[in-house]
C-alpha cells in the first residue's frame, strides 16, 4: 500500500492546486518536466531502486501475506503468524545492511530540478534501523500476550506490520505527500492496535482518545501542507526549502501559516507539551507490547517527520521554529517528568503509566537538538543527537516494557508495588530492569544513557541555549526521583501477605519469547554502554 503511494507521488507529484500562483508554477514546471501527456518525451515508467525501498517494502508485503494467510490458517495454526511477522521484520532490518554508507535516491522527478521522493541516506537508514528493530522487538514481545490475552492474531500481526511499514517509509520520504501518507499508514493501524482488546472499556477509551487527538493533528497538518504547496508550488522538501524564501510577498502570510500549521501537526504527533494528554491513558489502555511500540516506534515516526519538515523543508523559518521548539522542549520535559513524579506506587497500572509519562519527558529531551539545529541554523547537524538519543531510548525503553510484560503476577494490575522483591524472585530480570531504568535516568552504570544525555546537552550548550540546558538539568534530577524510586523498590523485600492468606505464590516462570526480549535488549544496552560509539556515531556523521 505504501509502495503504491510512493510510486504515485514520483512522477505525478503535481496535483491540482488552489491558487493561481500555484497553478501557474505547476503548469510551468509540468511543461518543463514534460511528464504529462502531450509532450510525452520522457519516460513515465522509471527504474525503481528495489534495494533502497526494500526495508519498508518487505514489511508491507509481509503484512499482506499475513492478512491473506490468516484467512486460510486453522485456529490451531494461527500461532505461526507471530514468528512469520518477526522473521519478516528481521529480514527487513537485515536489508538495511547493503545500503549502509550509501546515499540512494529513487522515485525522482525525471526532469527539471533533481528532487526525489524516496532517499536512503544515513538519516533514513538510522531511523529505519530504529523503527524496524523496534518493531522486531515488539513482535518478540507480543508473542505471549497475543496468545494469553486472546487477541485476534491475524488482525494483530497485520496491523503491526502495516504500521511498521508506514513508520519505516516515513524517514525515507522526501516529499510532503509521501510524508503525510506514511505518517497515516503508521498511525491508522495503531489506533486499531490500541483498541484491540475487545470488550474492555479502558481499551476502547484509549483508542478513541488516541484516534481523536491524532486525527485532529492530521487535519491541522494537511491544512498546513496544502498552504505550503499553494505558496511554493512543490511538494518535494528540497524544492520547498528553495522556494520558501522567494515566495511572492502577497503569499507570505499563507506560506507562514502553512509552515506553522505543518509544524504544529507534527509536534502533535510527537506528543510534545500541550498535546501530550492522550499518552498516559492510551498506553494504559493498550496491550503492553502496543504501548511499547507506540512509545518507541510511534515516537520515532513523529520525530523523523518533524526533523524532515523542520530541517529539510523549512530551514528558512529556522529563526522562528528554533526558539519555539526550544520552549516546547522545555515544556514537554517538565510536564512529562512532573507527571511521572506524581504517580503513586500503589495505583493500578502504575508501571505503564510511569513509563508513559517518562516517555513524554524523554520526548522533551529529543526535541532539544532539533531546537538547537534551528537556532544554530547550519545544516541541522545537531539532529544527529536526536537520532542517537532515540536509538538509546528505543533499546532501554523496549527493555523496560519487556520486563513489565514479563512481570505480570496473576491477579496483579501492574502496580509499582508489585515490583517489590523482584530482585529476590527473579534476580536477573530485576538487574535488567534496574539497568534500563538507570540508563533512562542517565546515571552510571547506565553509561549509554549518560552519554546520550551528554550529547543532547552539548548540542544545547553549543547552540547557546543555556537556559534550555539548565531546564534540562533540573529535569534530569526530577526524573531521577521516580526512576530511582522504582529501582529501589526492586530490592525491597516483598510485601508480606496477611497471615493465613495461603501459601506464598510460586514464582511464575517467564515465557521464552519475553526472556529472549529482555536478554536481547539487555545485551544491546550493555554493549552500547561499553562502546557508546556504536550509537553516538549517528550524532557525529552528516546525516543528510
Amino acid at each position: 500500500m505504501t509502495l503504491h503511494t510512493a510510486v504515485l507521488h514520483g512522477p505525478h507529484g503535481a496535483a491540482p492546486s488552489a491558487t493561481a500562483q500555484g497553478a501557474y508554477e505547476l503548469a510551468h514546471s509540468a511543461a518543463a518536466q514534460g511528464t504529462q501527456g502531450t509532450q510525452g518525451v520522457h519516460r513515465l515508467v522509471q527504474n525503481v531502486d528495489w534495494a533502497a525501498i526494500a526495508p519498508p517494502a518487505i514489511v508491507a508485503v509481509a503484512a499482506l501475506v499475513v492478512l491473506v494467510a490468516d484467512l486460510f490458517l486453522t485456529e490451531r495454526r494461527k500461532g505461526l503468524l507471530g514468528p512469520l511477522s518477526a522473521v519478516a521484520l528481521a529480514l527487513a532490518t537485515l536489508s538495511l545492511l547493503p545500503l549502509a554508507g550509501e546515499d540512494r535516491h529513487t522515485f525522482c522527478l525525471t526532469a527539471g530540478p533533481r528532487a526525489c521522493s524516496y532517499v536512503a541516506d544515513p538519516f533514513t537508514l538510522s531511523l529505519q534501523l530504529l523503527v524496524l528493530g523496534g518493531a522486531f522487538v515488539t513482535a518478540l514481545l507480543s508473542m505471549t500476550p497475543v496468545r494469553q490475552e486472546r487477541l485476534p492474531a491475524g488482525e494483530f500481526w497485520f496491523l503491526l506490520l502495516s504500521s511498521a511499514s508506514g513508520a519505516a517509509l516515513l524517514p525515507a520520504s522526501r516529499d510532503l505527500a509521501t510524508l503525510v501518507v506514511a505518517l497515516e499508514v503508521a498511525s491508522l493501524p495503531a489506533f486499531a492496535l490500541v483498541g484491540l482488546r475487545r470488550g474492555q472499556r479502558l481499551s476502547s477509551e484509549a483508542a478513541l482518545k488516541f484516534f481523536l487527538s491524532s486525527v485532529a493533528a492530521t487535519a491541522v497538518m494537511l491544512l498546513g501542507v496544502s498552504f505550503v504547496y499553494a505558496a511554493t508550488g512543490s511538494m518535494h522538501l528540497e524544492t520547498v526549502a528553495e522556494a520558501l524564501p522567494r515566495v511572492d510577498s502577497r503569499l507570505g502570510t499563507l506560506a507562514a501559516t502553512g509552515v506553522a500549521l505543518t509544524l504544529v501537526g507534527f509536534a502533535f504527533k510527537t506528543a510534545a507539551a500541550p498535546f501530550h494528554f492522550w499518552v498516559p491513558d492510551t498506553y494504559v489502555g493498550a496491550p503492553v507490547p502496543v504501548a511499547a511500540y507506540l512509545s518507541v516506534v510511534g515516537k520515532a515516526a513523529g520525530f523523523s517527520g518533524l526533523i524532515l519538515v523542520a530541517v529539510r523543508a523549512f530551514p528558512s523559518y529556522a529563526d522562528a521554529w528554533g526558539p519555539v521548539l526550544a520552549v516546547l522542549a522545555a515544556l514537554t520535559m517538565s510536564a512529562g517528568n512532573l507527571g511521572a513524579l506524581r504517580q503513586r506506587s500503589d495505583r493500578a497500572h502504575g508501571a505503564v503509566r510511569l513509563l508513559a509519562w517518562s516517555s513524554v519527558g524523554q520526548a522533551g529531551y529529543l526535541l532539544v537538538p532539533i531546537a538547537a539545529a534551528g537556532v544554530t541554523g547550519h545544516d541541522g547537524r545537531a539532529v544527529g543527537a536526536t537520532v542517537a538519543y532515540a536509538l538509546m531510548y528505543a533499546v532501554v525503553n523496549l527493555g523496560a516494557f519487556a520486563v513489565v510484560a514479563a512481570h505480570r503476577p496473576p491477579g496483579g494490575d501492574g502496580r509499582l508495588d508489585d515490583y517489590r522483591g523482584l530482585a529476590r524472585s527473579h534476580p536477573w530480570t530485576a538487574a535488567a530492569l534496574a539497568f534500563f531504568l538507570l540508563c533512562l535516568a542517565g546515571l552510571p552504570p547506565g553509561i549509554v544513557g549518560l552519554f546520550a544525555k551528554v550529547t543532547v546537552f552539548s548540542t544545547a550548550v553549543d547552540a547557546g541555549l543555556g537556559w534550555l540546558a539548565v531546564v534540562m538539568a533540573v529535569n534530569v534530577v526530577i526524573a531521577l526521583v521516580y526512576y530511582l524510586t522504582w529501582t529501589a523498590l526492586l530490592f525491597r523485600p516483598a510485601v508480606r501477605e496477611p497471615a493465613g492468606a495461603g501459601p506464598t505464590p510460586v514464582p511464575v516462570a517467564i515465557p521464552l519469547p519475553l526472556t529472549v526480549t529482555v536478554a536481547l535488549t539487555s545485551v544491546l544496552a550493555l554493549a552500547t554502554s561499553g562502546a557508546p560509539q556504536l550509537l553516538l556515531r549517528f550524532a557525529d556523521i552528516a546525516l543528510f
Binding site: 552510571p444 552519554f451 551528554v454 543555556g466 538539568a473 557508546p532 553516538l536 557525529d540
Partner: protein, 544 residues
Amino acid sequence: MIPLDDTVLQALLVAVVAVPLLGAVAALLPAPPGLRGRGPDQAVLRHGVTVTGVVLLGTVLLALGFDHDRSGTMQAESDVSWIPALDVRLHFGIDGISLPLLVLTALLAFLCALYSYARMPAGPGPKAFVALILLLECGTLATFAVLDLMLFFLAFEMVLVPMYFLIARWGGQGRGPAAWKFILYTLLGSVVMLLGLLLLGLNAGTFDMAAIARGQGAGLGHTTQVLAALAIGLGLAVKAPMWPLHSWLPGAHTAAPTVGSVLLACVLLKMGTYGFVRIVLPGVPEGAHTFAPYLAAFAVVGIVYGSLACLALALPSSDRSWRRFAPQSSPGAQGDLKRLIAYSSVGHMGFVLLGIATLTHTGVNGALYANLAHGLVTGLLFFLVGALKDRAGTSDLDALAGTTGAALYGRAPRLGGLLAFGAVASLGLPGLAGFWGELLALLGAYHPAAGLSRPAFLVFLALGALGTLLTAAYMLLVVRRVCMGDPAAPTSVPGLTKVPDVRGAEFAAWTPLVVLTVLAGLWPAALLGLMDPAVQSLLPGVTR
C-alpha cells in the same frame, strides 16, 4: 624509588581503576569452588578485602614507581580513543596531586573492607554491599586518575548510585530521606557541572584536561570563563561541600553506616576539591579569579558555621542559651556524635576551599595537604564513633555523657585514647596531620594572589583563625564529655557499663590511619615536595 618501565606504570594505573569494577561484577556472581570459605557471606566479604587489598598494593607500587623528581608532569599516561563522536578518550595519568589521593582512596577502601569483614553493618546480605563498595572505589579512583573532562564527569557520577544504596539499605535512623537528599543534591550539582564542562570543552576545542590546563584559559572569552567557572564551581562546591550548599552532608553522614560515612567524608568530598584544583584553577583562570573572593568568603563562613554548629552539638542540652545555634534539622539527632563530626567536616573543608581561593602556591598546597589530613583524621574519627555507636547503641552525646561523662578512659582505655587522639589531630595540634594544611591555607590568605583584595583576605584569615579556636573548643569538649568522667557513675546507656575495648580487626583498620596522621604531621616535606611541582605547573603565573 624503584625503577619501573613506563608501560608497566600505565598498565598499573589502568588496572588500579579497572580491578574494583571487575571485582564488583565478580562479587555478584557465585564464588568459584575453592574460594567458598565458610559460607557465601564470608566468601564475598573476603573477596572485598582481597580486591581492595590488590588495588592498594597497585597504588603503592605506583607510588614507588612514580618518578618523584618529575612530579609536576603527568606520568603513567595512557590515551585511547573511546567515543570519537563526543571526543571522549580513555585518558589516564597521575601527577603529584592525584597520586596521594589515589593512595588515600585505595587505603581507606581497603580499611573499610577490612572493617566490614569483621563487623558487617546490619541490613541485607553482604553481596550487594561489597559490590557497591567496590563500585564506589572504582568511581573515586577513576576521578583522580582520568584526564578527560567527560570521563571525569562519568567517574563523578559513578559514585552516586552506590552511595545512595549504601545509605538507603544499610544506614541507620532517617536513612531514606538522607539518601534522597544526598543523591538529588549532588546530582543537581553534577549536572550543572556538566554544563560548565561542556561549555569549557566545546569552547576550548578539546576535552583533554592536561591540554586545557596547559592552555591556561587561552582562547576562552571572559564571559565564557566566568560562566564555566560558575557552573563547574557550583557542581564541585556541592560535593566539597561549601557552605551554604552543605545541607545534604550532615544527614547523609548521620544515617550512613560507619563504612559509608568514612568513604563519604574521606573520599567523596575530596573529589570536589580535587576538581577545583585540577579543572577550575588552570582551565578558567579568569573565572577562578572572579569568583575567588566569594569562594573564600563562603569558605570562611563555612569554617565558622561548622565550628559553631559543632559547639552547639557538643554542649550539654541543658545549656539552652547555646542550643539556639544548633541546627534543628531532625529530632533525636541533637548532640549526635556522627552529626558533630559531619559538621566538623564542613569546617575542615572550609579551610581547603580557603586555601584554593587564595590562588597561590602556598594556599593550594595547604588546601591539598588539609584535604589529605582531613581524609585520614576524619576517617579515623568516623570509625571510632561508629564503633562507639555499635557498642553503646547510641551516639547521642547527652545520653553517653550522662551526668559526669562517658568515662571511656576508664571503661575502654584504648578506645578512649584513640578518640582523644583523633580529636586532637582534628583540631590541628602541631605535630599531627591537621596542622600543616590549615597553617598553609591561612598563610596563603595572608598574601593572596595578585589582583585579589588583600584586606578582604586578611579578614578571612582572622575569621579562619577564630574557627581554629572554636574547633579546639568543641573537640576538647567532646573529649571531656566522652573520654573523661567517673566510670563508677550510673549511666542510662546499658551498653556503656561493660563496653568492650578495641578488637583485633579494629586495630588493624585504624592503626594505618594513626601512623599516617603522625607521619604526615612530623614529615610534611615528603608530601609537599611531591605536590608542589604539580601545583606550580597548574598555576604557572603565580610567584608565591
